[in-house]
Symmetry: C2
Subunit: 428 residues, 2 copies
């Protein structure tokens, strides 16, 4: 039903009922935080294997005889690099293990580029007049904050359902030498849930870049985070880049934040050979070792891709009812109207909700006012500004199914109120 | 005995005997690495309490109810900040907890100053023509590598036995606005073992600096690492700075690397209020959390200063025989000659060995050739250059007492050979 085609009487009647429901929500005392993608408690409680993987101080020796309790091996245990190698499809020798946060490795990579440059940089990025990055939107707000912090201009590109619109990306990257990079989440993209198609990955690897030090910051945060037990099959971006003659292009990140503990996992970054050497040279100044005992805990439990997939399937089946609860509630309350669309992702941590009549800021504020905190409207865009004011990110992983149903109903009600009051669709 | 006063016959006779001993060492197949300050295995094996402090995933809640397994609390658990507060004499609210490596926090602090500046900076350090740091020497090579990496010029200042020569430091810092900082190890200084006196600390806090953003990077790496069970008493540098009207001056670091596991500890940095806010603003972009589970392990075991001191006394009594073995061997083989002096530290991780006839590079090379790897000569100086070529750092913590005796004997033999062959003291 197109709400623009409603009679004004019918619209008023609908609005009156919706406002009543909204007020009922407001006075119900609901209090729910769906703003960030946190693993749920019931999943975290299944991780006693990690906590008990290394309990004897004399059982802290890695496969090559390294005493993990002591200094040394700054770039990570071989077996930890081999584990991530299977997850992100990069040779283990090109991988460096970090601490808890892959975001920190991203920040460091950009920071290093700014102060010292990357492979092929004519000069440090900080000495360039302009440095620009391609950003598929809506995307991950923390990526944008790092880029903004270093004064990097962001050029947005829309999604197609199988990654960013590559016609646009190719043109931007080929035409402008100040475009030094792109930042993206290739599998179950945050927000949209896009899984990059084979063609997208190959074009990303093969496209011509005017900047000699162009990199793709490839955040594989959800690479094994399937909801339906069906792995997202995607070519190795690293291999495709090597094959296309762009071996220094891929900078690939991953972490176990949502496999074991967000508050106590391990992470990695990988580079092409030359960028790897540059990174190692600087990292050797930054630290003597990361937490090798925690690396040992993780490899002893997660072991290999097969074991990780089994674990993630278990977690996926805990998350799936949550995603379905939100999707079904939207369908129930919004299915017969033309005011919104939402993603039905096959994995990852988010549902992307789009208001065809705009008003995202208002809707998020209304939900907050009634006790449900959502990711701020606009967060998926550089500088926090969504030009169409239409995207809202739903993070359904942490709350209970009952709470999610309520929150999705509230969001539906607010969206309807906003659209009916506004009554002007973004596109005809 | 002054070797310059030896008759040439006696010198040749001595040399001949020493060369014979050296060759015997060379063919004995000794192989020993004393280049870095690693905790010994027997100490690491006492840390099962840390590994078993958190083994139940539902027992990961901090005092304020934070679920340590999940994201959040980026700047560290309150109880972890309170623990370090007691160790480094800084208010808990001014402390930020990091991952395994305090060196990483130092790198980050300098990197942030270079790209964005610190409290009071007229502009980012990277936009200044010259940035200089005061470096008491001999000091910690990893400090100098970070400064060198960012193009920061280093001005060396000698030690007095109770810290750097403050007359010189005060003059440099008061006269030159490009002197933005000083980097130092105030307790059991690496190499010399100096413990900064009350006067040194107060003058460091109170001295006038020409640069409005002058900071003292105060690496409290060995603050509770006493060898004789006698705590190093030193005023709170943080409090002294506040009292002197220089609240943004102190940037204080510490870690548990040598209290629990070098390969799995926690660390901290602290700032004055304004620098703290600046740091938090940027760190909020760098990571969502550090490893809070490991923070929990540490606070549950280390608890408070008293408990830490008991633990460190236990470790100190394991290390003391090692230090004494080296000192006694030097006394035995070098005590009757005028060719060397060595520190007898009350704590920390190193013995500072100084050759009065120079030749440190040659002596280190001779030892390496005979199977004993020492810290490279010159490492205690910026750019790896010791102008007098006289300092050698001994790291006696890791090897066994027997190995240490052999290594110290070899070093004595090499030092005597070098001095007798050279026969020219550095000072008259």
């Amino acid at each position: 039903m197109r709400i623009t085609e409603l009679s004004s009487e019918r619209r008023e009647e609908l609005l009156s009922g919706l406002r009543e429901k909204y007020e009922a929500f407001r006075s119900s005392g609901i209090s729910l935080d769906m703003s960030r993608g946190n693993p749920p408690k019931e999943q975290l409680s299944l991780n006693s294997d990690i906590l008990n993987a290394v309990t004897d101080p004399d059982d802290c020796i890695s496969e090559d005889g390294t005493d993990c309790r002591n200094y040394g091996v700054p770039f990570g245990l071989k077996e930890a690099r081999e584990l991530f190698s299977q997850l992100i499809q990069v040779p283990a020798d090109n991988i460096i293990i970090g601490g808890t946060s892959s975001l920190n490795l991203m920040y460091d990579t950009i920071s290093r580029a700014v102060t010292h440059g990357l492979a092929g940089s004519p000069r440090p990025w900080g000495k360039e007049k302009h440095v620009k990055f391609v950003c598929p939107v809506p995307g991950y707000d923390r990526h944008y904050k790092i880029l903004e912090h270093f004064g990097i201009e962001m050029i947005t590109v829309p999604f197609t359902g199988h990654g960013p619109d590559m016609d646009i990306v190719e043109k931007i990257v080929a035409d402008d030498a100040s475009v030094k990079g792109m930042i993206c989440v290739p599998v179950y993209s945050n927000y949209t849930g896009d899984v990059y198609s084979d063609e997208t990955v190959k074009r990303l690897a093969g496209m011509q870049a005017k900047a000699p030090d162009f990199v793709v910051m490839y955040d594989d945060a959800y690479v094994v985070h399937d909801l339906y037990g069906v792995p997202a099959e995607i070519p190795s971006f690293f291999d495709e880049c090597v094959r296309a003659g762009h071996p220094e292009r891929p900078v690939i990140f991953a972490s176990t934040s949502k496999m074991t503990f967000a508050g106590g996992g391990i992470c990695c970054v990988s580079f092409g050979d030359e960028n790897l050497e540059l990174a190692k040279k600087v990292m050797a100044m930054q630290f003597i070792t990361h937490d090798k005992i925690n690396q040992l805990r993780h490899v002893r439990v997660l072991r290999d891709l097969k074991t990780v997939r089994e674990r993630m399937d278990r977690f996926g089946s805990m998350l799936l009812p949550k995603f379905e609860a939100v999707e079904d509630t939207f369908e129930e309350f919004l299915g017969s109207y033309d005011i919104a669309e939402w993603s039905k992702p096959r994995g990852g941590y988010f549902i992307c909700f789009r208001l065809r009549y705009g008003g995202a800021k208002r809707v998020v504020a209304m939900c907050a006012d009634a006790g449900v905190k959502l990711t701020p409207a606009g967060a998926g865009f550089p500088y926090g500004v969504d030009p169409s004011d239409s995207y809202i990110r739903i993070a359904p992983t942490f709350p209970s199914v009952d709470d999610l149903k309520k929150a999705a109903e509230l969001l539906s009600i607010c969206s309807l109120i906003s659209a009916l009051e506004n009554n002007t669709p973004l596109e005809v």
